[in-house]
């Protein structure tokens, strides 16, 4: 938002268009928004910018009440039509009207404002970064746990496997997949944090249930 450079005829024209169907910069009563824009304008708009002139004269009549108008003064870029940048140099600047604001480092005050904005943004970004936990590398592993024979109690086997709990390990869905001769293998998925859990650890723990587990394989390993 913003009106472009309010010290140039171009910016005033944006203001004029903006005010064609509005009595005030913001809302339905005079507020600090009007004060902010009023202060940014060096002199009354010309008569061909009739809406800006109307608004200007109207706001001028509130001069002695300036401080008591409602609202909070925001930077000029917060007002006006969307999609238009604010390029007005800070007040008190004795610049030439035609100055092209797109040149770098032209105005100290402007730079200071831009610097401040940049710093604010960096601070906000850093805060956001620090709040959010660093992305934990996770993987989704599908394990095939094979029993000794078809008489192995698969429910018990699954129970044993699920009883394995480690920091960073989350058991997921499981299903029984027949492999032949009536033997079913348990296919169980889990999500692990790479730093904390490795497949060899898992294998060790699972095969520890020697009564039920003959072997374990990693059927699939996907990074999340």
């Amino acid at each position: 938002m913003g009106f472009g450079d309010l010290k140039t005829p171009g910016g005033l024209k944006v203001l004029n268009d903006f005010l064609a169907d509005k009595s005030y910069i913001e809302g339905w009563v005079p507020s600090q928004a009007d004060v902010a824009v009023f202060d940014a304008i060096s002199s009354a708009p010309s008569t061909d910018l009739c809406h800006a002139l109307r608004w200007y004269n109207h706001i001028k009549s509130f001069q002695n009440k300036k401080g008591s108008l409602p609202g909070v003064k925001k930077p000029l870029g917060q007002y006006g039509p969307a999609g238009v940048e604010d390029k007005t140099a800070a007040a008190g600047d004795s610049k030439d009207d035609d100055d092209d604001m797109d040149l770098f480092g032209s105005d100290e005050e402007e730079d200071a404002e831009a610097e401040k904005l940049k710093e604010e943004r960096i601070a906000a970004y850093a805060a956001k970064k620090s709040k959010k936990p660093t992305l934990i590398a996770k993987s989704s592993i599908l394990l095939d746990v094979k029993p000794w024979d078809d008489e192995t109690d698969m429910a018990k086997l699954e129970e044993c496997v699920r009883s394995i709990s480690m920091d960073g390990l989350l058991w997921g869905q499981s299903k029984l997949v027949p492999v032949g001769y009536g033997i079913k293998k348990l296919q169980i998925g889990c999500v692990v944090e790479d730093d904390k859990v490795g497949t060899d650890q898992l294998e060790e723990q699972i095969t520890a249930f020697e009564d039920y587990v003959q072997s374990m394989d990693v059927a699939a390993f996907n990074k999340i």
């Binding site: 004029n16 268009d17 169907d21």
Partner: protein, 174 residues
Amino acid sequence: MMALRELSSLEKALGLKKPNKYSTQGDKKVPVLHSSNGPALVGLVTISTHLVREAKLPKLLGGSAEHKALVQQWMEYRLTKVDGCHKEDIKTILKDLNSYLEDKVYLAGNQFTLADTLMYYGIHHIIVGLAVQEKEKHMNVTRWFDHIQHYPSVRHHLPPVVVLRNRVYTSGYH
């Protein structure tokens, strides 16, 4: 009956707690205010002015002598030109108001007055019937109208009129 609705709306807008007793007279349905002490008051502007005084809000009638006169002028305009106007007159009214409001936020001076309220009530039915292009052609009237209808407590018995913000014609088309 419109006049009576207006007056009751005005009473609410002014914060008058006790509604007054009204009736109408004549085929033009001119409103009459029956007060408990004193003669009956006849006429929309007369009664409205009286109500404003009753509500102790004299600012709504204007500050300086010129300002007061301006307020009266527009209330008179409402009664004589707007009320009971014919369809052909509507264009003239809109043109008049549009050129007048080009450099003004309110009808009279820099503040909201009874003139704005009464004019708002008066032309509401006209604005409701305007097509989008017409609303844009009389941008100033539309702007003023939208402003007044958002003014706290003005709009009681009248539905809000939608004023499109995305304009069909960009500036330069007046």
